[in-house]
Assembly symmetry: C2
Homo-oligomer: 326 residues x 2
């Protein structure tokens, strides 16, 4: 790997001059610049970003913290983040926290140690202490509006929509899934749903979920159909649990959506591929990632931020686990 010094020698100038042509600042005579550029070409020189980062106390890296990339919700989000960053010349350092506060802290520390210039976090931590007095801006993704900077979608409204679609489409004995307490956006959905259900005065039950996994969905689905066999509509916490419920219903010979309607939340890719395809509340997952990156870049560049909390709209996606509007 060639260094700036070698380039300088070859071009017969000082390193300062090379640095000037590299960064295109300060005065450089045209022919001097030419000589330098030739030397750079000949040596195949690329500047060492580590040295730059050390001096400038900042890198081109942004840290992205996710609960688990294996959860189909997150790849799309990560892609949104990356696409936006990439356009702005930033790069991604990435870690799965796996719901471990310790692992999360470890990643944050490593990020900071490496002069990362910003952080995007989509973890579900109960505890914000990990993020206190960080020397870099942080944007929280998909976690409601409680933090200083955040990008999220309108969970309460999504929950409302789910409930009113369910009612509109004829369900009268509804079971609502309540996601784990520490997952903020899932609580908001739940609230929105309950609000509408209470107002409309329809019968409903609540089943609590310990996690948002497929397996937990299966377990609870079993419980639902055993305890509340008369249920004719299920509002799930997310698409993964909705899919689990769909499976359990199908394997019990329930006709979907005729006997039971199901509405999910998120609109992950696979929701259109299950059978029957899943009606759901769509979050603009990719855009959420993109917006978070945009906001973070503004913060990094110290540009004015008009909206520290960006709330994106959700919408109902009508597929085949719900009936026609009556």
């Amino acid at each position: 790997m060639a260094t700036i010094k070698q380039v300088a020698e070859r071009a017969g100038v000082s390193v300062a001059t090379v640095s000037r042509v590299l960064n295109d600042n300060g005065y450089v005579q045209l022919d001097t610049r030419k000589k330098v550029e030739e030397a750079i070409d000949q040596l195949g020189y690329i500047p060492n970003e580590v040295a730059r980062s050390l001096y400038k106390k900042e890198s081109r890296f942004i840290g992205l913290l996710l609960p688990d990339i294996t959860n189909p919700f997150f790849p799309e989000m990560a892609r949104g983040v990356e696409d936006e960053l990439q356009e702005e010349g930033f790069y991604l350092l990435f870690g799965n926290s796996d719901e471990s506060l310790e692992r999360e802290l470890k990643y944050i520390q490593t990020f900071v140690q490496n002069n990362v210039v910003g952080l995007i976090s989509a973890t579900n931590l109960a505890d914000k202490a990990n993020y206190d007095n960080l020397p870099i801006p942080t944007v929280f993704l998909d976690r409601g509006s409680q933090s200083e900077y955040s990008v999220y979608s309108d969970g309460v409204e999504g929950g409302r929509i789910a409930a009113s679609e369910m009612i509109k489409r004829g369900s009268r004995k509804i079971t609502v899934l309540k996601g784990p307490a520490h997952v903020m956006p899932v609580q908001e959905r739940f609230q929105g749903t309950i609000e509408v259900l209470v107002q409309a005065n329809v019968d409903f039950q609540v089943i609590s979920l310990e996690s948002l996994s497929f397996q937990e969905g299966m377990r609870r689905a079993y419980e639902i159909f055993e305890k509340f066999p008369e249920t004719d509509g299920i509002i799930a916490s997310n698409d993964t649990t909705a899919t689990a419920i769909l499976h359990e219903a199908l394997s019990r010979g329930k006709s979907i959506p005729d006997e039971v309607q199901i509405i999910g939340f998120d609109d992950i890719q696979q929701s259109s591929l299950v059978f029957p395809s899943l009606s759901t509340i769509r979050q603009p997952i990719y855009d959420m990632g993109r917006e978070a990156a945009k906001l973070l870049i503004k913060l990094i560049k110290k540009q004015a931020v008009e909206q520290p909390h960006i709330k994106l709209d959700v919408s109902y996606v009508n597929r085949n686990t719900t009936r026609k509007v009556k």
Copy 2:
């Protein structure tokens, strides 16, 4: 952010001594160490990895290059890589190449500029030039055995298994999908399949795919059912295209698996969630990621590598798009 110098001052020792306690090498008197540790605690000091990296000419980062994390095949792989790395104290720098040679090169360059110590690449590049005389070891993932170090699964055998299961389960007019020429592992599957089909002397057609996307799968599915309505078995290039074919078949009222059997390849998560659930050839995706990371770490540590090419086994997963063995 405290620096080593501040720690040294506070502890009343030299930076050299602080460095020694930090790295736990060289002689340090017990009470000196105590003083230093106290100073570190009081200042909340964490060493700057950038400075370390500059001096040592290596970081704790490994670059991971993927075609597209949004493709459900890759998250699991990335997770395998990360889990292994994390245990060894390495971190992940990550980029989606998006099938663009240029973008790929850009990422590789950035990785190198940042003293990354190793590279894992799962892209489909036709062109290996991007990887020539890199100063760091590279492991190629899911790309056959042609490169110096590689981790992949036995595609040829997988293709054979798919064909023989298809025949065993009664299909006699088989359509085989042929993935894009530049995607190596997909070609191997194809070869294995053809080999068995020819040997068994059964009727078959080949349909070429321009990509492995769901949309392309839909297009070709249409073509298959129009051109070869008598097809009674379809061997897809991967699970995504298999799922597309399943949809098209279902929407044409074909009974699956009675009229047409379908076998996919990969066993991505969603394959067990589609309906009917997809019979497929399972690749150990997570383990592939993990093995690649293991191999790379060996290379980085300059440990002996007995196996530069690691081929993992595939297996048939019997689900509901295939019939009982006759």
